[in-house]
Every structure is written in C-alpha cells, then in structure tokens.
C-alpha cells in the first residue's frame, strides 16, 4: 500500500458517487486515470484489504428489527463443530469462539438477525436443542449507540 492507495481508501470510506462513472469521478478528483484507480482497487481486493465496494443497509429500516447476540457455553471438544453448525444459519452473520470469564462463562458467540425477537429465539431454540449447550442467553440490542464504517 502506498500513498495513492491510502488516498483511495480514504476516498472510498465515504460515499461512492451515484453517477454512471463513479471511479472516473474519483480519478478526476485525484488527478489520475480511471485505469489506475481500477487497477489499484483490484489489487487491494486481491490482498483482501478491500472486501468490496457495495451497499451497507440499515437493518432496522428494512425489516430486520431484531438483533440478538447469542452467547453459549459448550464443552471444549464440541465448540468447533457447534460453531460451524450455527454459522450455517442464514440469519447468523457473525459467529466466533471467544474467551470466557469466571463471571461470564460463554465461549460461543453469534449475531442473529430477524424480523422479530420470536424469530431469533426460534433459531436459538433450534440450535440449542441439538447441541450440548450447557448454558446460554440471547442479548437483544435495544439501542444503536453508534454504527459507522471502519475508517483510517
């Protein structure tokens, strides 16, 4: 990544112009050619620095009003398999094994999105019924305090 790449990262952290030729608009603003912009973006995508240029939606406004963080405790030898199974639900966006604490003993975490809390809880029920989950909880979000995109 050089300085021009960083300039492009900063540019794309904002909004892509809703014009027929958005990368050309950026190129003209930065004083380079559209081919160079595209080449650099393609390179960043190959290295994984750029996941994609695309839309991020507002969950709540499009019907996904329930957002639950599932937390569960599974025996060490089952957690990977269970995590992979939980990851298979289309309603699950994030699924991780994380470090437990003595007063917060959960080691499996998943974000589940649904149109209602009931729908999210149905997914949780379905999952825990078939796995060796010792204890679990679902923490619904009740307020979005901040949501922004990562930026340099």
């Amino acid at each position: 990544m050089d300085d021009i790449d960083l300039l492009l990262v900063r540019e794309l952290q904002g909004e892509l112009p809703f014009s027929p030729d958005p990368y050309g608009d950026i190129a003209r603003r930065k004083g380079c050619t559209v081919d160079e912009v595209l080449l650099r973006l393609q390179r960043m995508r190959e290295t994984g620095a750029l996941k994609r240029v695309g839309a991020v939606l507002k969950h709540r406004n499009i019907g996904f009003s329930a957002n639950g963080l599932f937390v569960g405790l599974l025996p060490e030898k089952h957690v990977d398999k269970a995590g992979q199974r939980l990851a298979g639900f289309s309603e699950v966006s994030h699924c991780y094994r994380r470090r437990p604490y003595p007063d917060w003993p959960y080691n499996l975490y998943a974000m589940i999105h649904g149109t209602s809390e009931e729908q999210v809880l149905q997914i949780v029920d379905h999952f825990v019924r078939n796995e060796a989950v010792e204890i679990y909880d679902t923490l619904f979000s009740i307020e979005e305090l901040k949501k922004s995109s990562f930026s340099l």
Binding site: M1, V9, L12, Q13, G14, L16, F18, P20, D21, P22, Y23, V34, L38, R45, T47, G48, A49, L50, R52, V53, G54, A55, V56, L57, K58, H59, N61, I62, G63, L69, D80, G83, L86, A87, S90, E91, S93, H94, C95, Y96, R97, R98, R99, Y101, W104, Y109, H113, D137, L139, F140, S141, I142, E143, E144, L145, K146, K147, S149, F150, L152
Partner: protein, 164 residues
C-alpha cells in the same frame, strides 16, 4: 417501508458489491434488466429513505494494520449516556449497542497498537466509574458474512463489521 420487487433485487445486488469496472452501474443494470437511469434513481431513493446506510468501500481493518476486538461493560444507568458519548468519541469504535443484559454496553474497538488500545480503554474505564471492561478477542472465526436477504424475508444480516 414500501419496497417493490425491483428495490429488493437491487438491495441484494448492491450488497454483493459493484464491479470494479469503468461503468459499474451499467453492469448492475444489465444484471437486473433495468435501465441504468432507473438503477441510479432507485439507489438514490433507497439511500434517501434510509434503507441504504451507505454505498462505498468496505475494508478489512486487519489488512490495513488494525486489530479489532469486541468489548462489553456493565454501566450504571445514571452514567450510561455519558459513558456512551466517551466510547463513541473514539474513531476506532465503529459499533456500540445497548443490550438487554447485566452487560449492557457492547462495542467494538480497532486500534493500530496495544498502547493506543490501552489508552482508549483507560479513558473509557475512567468515564464508567472504573467499571470492569470485558475483552472478547476472537479465538476462532466460524462466520463473517454480510448479507441481509431482501428477497426472502427470512434472510439476514450484519453490518460492515470488521473482524472482531
């Protein structure tokens, strides 16, 4: 919320991403069998109506030299919004949610160095009356997929979270 089938198809297509080509909206228009002007108009309206948060680059913080982690705290009710303001003031904090639980504040923090991270966490801890901050580094990732399926309302979501 009044979304027709074309809006839904467009929202799904835009989440997958615009191609890195000279006329990316033309490609989307072709895929959806709509004139490009209509695609741009619809996208603009969906943005204006608050269905689309943004259309732009979605980056992987880890590949840009940052490491992201998830945190949670039990914040006293009387301090809650003051603490939220402090947490939110840091650029590295991209998500912060109030959740119905003893641990009522959950946020993500990306930082370039451990020193930077420690400094930010100390400020937050001070603001929260020295509350304990639970740090939840990811030990294993099973899934990180951004897609809210607008064409089957069973589908799902995420934001453009990094790896936390």
């Amino acid at each position: 919320m009044d979304l027709d089938a074309k809006d839904r198809a467009l929202l799904n297509r835009l989440q997958e991403g615009l191609p890195l080509v000279k006329l990316p909206w033309e490609k989307i228009a072709d895929d959806l069998d709509m004139p490009v002007q209509e695609v741009l108009q619809r996208a603009g309206r969906l943005k204006q109506d608050g269905m689309i948060r943004r259309v732009g680059g979605i980056f992987n913080p880890a590949k840009l030299g940052f490491s992201g982690r998830l945190y949670a705290m039990e914040v006293k009710e009387e301090l809650f919004y003051d603490v939220a303001a402090v947490v939110n003031s840091f650029k590295g904090v991209t998500h912060n949610y109030r959740r119905r639980n003893r641990l009522n504040m959950w946020f993500t923090l990306s930082a370039r160095t451990e020193e930077e991270r420690a400094g930010i966490l100390e400020s937050i801890r001070e603001a929260a009356g020295k509350a304990k901050i639970y740090e939840f580094p990811a030990e294993q990732m099973y899934k990180l997929k951004v897609f809210l399926n607008m064409e089957e309302q069973q589908g799902v979501g995420e934001g453009d979270y990094g790896r936390y």
